[in-house]
């Protein structure tokens, strides 16, 4: 007998695994099965306002956010002191920690331990608040 390749089913991400219909005796678990775990349920509070973005750069590691990770951004959430946000600064999309000190606002990242204070004339608009980071472990 030849050593055939083991059968590997095609992976699918099209939602939770469905229960298999038993042909003989009905499965005693049938009445208890109402779908598997859906990651959307855990990660996305409101899909209308949720956007996914990819991180490029190494300066948010203290927040657990690494180069190449995907972050989940919710536009509908209020920005608070120390929120990690995606923002546009003079046309560039950045991920930073938002700091509010009295009337001053600043942006914090690993490369500038003292928050960069926004200057007059800087064009800033906050895209949304980062709620989760999908870190690549391997």
């Amino acid at each position: 007998m030849s050593s055939a390749e083991p059968f590997v089913p095609e992976p699918s991400s099209a939602g939770p695994v469905q229960a298999v219909a038993a042909m003989g005796f009905p499965s005693p678990a049938r009445d208890y099965f109402d779908g598997g775990l859906d990651l959307n349920q855990l990660l996305v509070k409101d899909r209308v306002s949720t956007f996914i973005m990819r991180v490029g750069g190494h300066s948010m590691q203290s927040a657990g956010i690494y180069d190449g990770d995907e972050v989940i951004v919710d536009r509908s959430l209020p920005v608070r002191h120390n929120s990690v946000v995606v923002l546009s600064l003079n046309g560039q999309m950045l991920i930073r920690r938002w700091q509010v000190n009295g009337s001053k606002t600043g942006l914090l990242c690993d490369e500038s331990p003292i928050p960069v204070t926004l200057a007059e004339g800087d064009e800033v608009s906050i895209f949304g608040v980062v709620t989760r980071c999908l870190h690549h472990v391997r």
Partner: protein, 430 residues
């Protein structure tokens, strides 16, 4: 007055606004979005409108503004616009007692409450779409759809209203004055042709149309325009607008980015478009009785001109992709001249009905073809697969190839498909 009101919500400069969500460099700057194949302007930012750039203007005519006025140009990114539209529509659905999607960027929404409550809700809708999705909308509220459209028109042209106009909260005098100043062609459903005919009867402004005799309008025009007159007077009579491709046809014709000159390439074109048209019919649960195939050379080319176009009447209404593909290929094959540079082509299905052909008729035609039976099964499979895995997953004939054919759309200035493709996510700098 309390009760049920109609809001018309639409996104300002929708395509441009979608692009701006992901690229702030486009804010406060003239931006245009180009049609399929980067042919002409289909959407403009306010700044581009202010430059005098019109809709439908050929791209080459506005190109000079890139240098002189920092004009930004984008190809149509329908994946992005479609996803952003779906978000807007879902959010709108949460506010209304009912919700009708009218187009990619326009919806009618039913709002309940007294006028002040309704104004508050309208403002909330606007703020919520701006915050959660990032695109600006205008909201017009009134007692009928036609008047809600008009209120939206007012909201859009008067920045001081903050994007919201509840016409029933306006002074009647002011409203009458505006209606007497705005031409009737600005009314929803009144086109240029109708407008010209109305003008001939002395009906120039919206106020004129509102005051006209509905019976006379019905006699001279149609019951549709009569309804418009009723609606202008506050009487609700336009029901749900059906969401359908259009009056009676499904059309897939496009310009090619590189000319098609061989039979093989043309087969590919016909087969892809026939299948797209068939799957549109399947989605809408309709059947076609007439298939038109068409292709053409460029008017500006020096070579041979050729405009092969023909119609195939189908033995009975069908939406079978196999039948339609086979017929489209055969018909075009006969007409086209290989070696000639075709720059556009496609498939049009018309004579649409909600039921397939009467089986009885077949008794007098050819006997039920076993081949056709078999094809029905294959078609079902193809339809199921493309419904499940997307239109690119499977195809008949030459449409089954995975690689993008080289004649397909030219989109040189396209932004990323930020919200629908994992490999095109926006990158944020850490």
């Amino acid at each position: 007055m309390s009760g049920d009101h109609v809001a018309l919500v639409d996104v300002n400069n929708f395509y441009v606004s979608c692009e701006r969500v992901f690229d702030q460099r486009l804010v406060n700057r003239p931006v245009v979005v180009l049609s399929n194949n980067d042919g002409c302007v289909v959407a403009r930012s306010q700044e581009a409108k202010d430059l005098g750039i019109g809709t439908g203007e050929p791209f080459f005519k506005v190109q000079r503004y890139i240098q002189s006025h920092n004009l930004a140009v984008r190809s149509s990114n329908y994946e992005l616009y479609g996803d952003m539209s779906a978000r807007v529509m879902e959010l709108l659905g949460r506010f209304g007692t009912w919700h009708e999607v009218y187009s990619i960027d326009e919806s009618f929404v039913g709002l309940e409450g007294n006028l002040e409550q309704v104004r508050t809700t309208a403002a909330q809708i606007r703020a919520s779409i701006d915050k959660s999705i990032g695109v600006p909308v205008c909201v017009g509220v009134s007692s009928t759809k036609t008047l809600a459209k008009f209120a939206n028109h007012i909201a859009k042209r008067n920045a001081n209203l903050g994007g919201v106009c509840v016409s029933e909260l306006m002074d009647q005098d002011v409203l009458d004055k505006i209606m007497s100043l705005v031409p009737a062609t600005e009314v929803w459903g009144v086109g240029r042709k109708t407008g010209a005919k109305l003008a001939g009867m002395g009906i120039q402004s919206i106020a004129d149309l509102k005051a006209s005799d509905p019976l006379a309008i019905r006699k001279k025009f149609s019951v549709v325009l009569q309804r418009t007159v009723f609606e202008l007077n506050g009487q609700r009579c336009i029901g749900p607008v059906e969401e359908r491709s259009d009056k009676g046809q499904v059309m897939f014709t496009r310009s090619f980015s590189t000319p098609v000159r061989t039979r093989e390439a043309m087969e590919e074109v016909m087969s892809i478009y026939a299948q797209k048209a068939a799957s549109r019919l399947a989605r809408e649960n309709r059947y076609a009785s007439l298939l038109t195939v068409t292709a053409g050379t460029s008017r500006f080319a020096k070579g041979e001109a050729s405009f092969p176009t023909t119609q195939v009447r189908l033995r009975r209404p069908t939406r079978d992709p196999i039948v339609l593909t086979r017929l489209a290929i055969a018909a075009m094959n006969e007409l086209m001249r290989p070696g000639v540079d075709y720059v556009r082509g496609g498939v049009i299905l018309s004579g649409l009905s909600d039921t397939p052909g009467d089986q009885q008729l077949d008794l007098f035609g050819e006997a039920a073809d076993p081949k056709e039976q078999e094809s029905a099964n294959v078609s079902q499979v193809v339809q199921n697969i493309s419904a499940k895995f997307g239109a690119q997953a499977i195809g008949l004939g030459r449409a089954g190839i995975a690689q993008v054919p080289d004649w397909s759309m030219k989109r040189e200035h396209i932004s990323q498909r930020f919200t629908t493709h994992w490999d095109e996510l926006p990158v944020v700098k850490a």
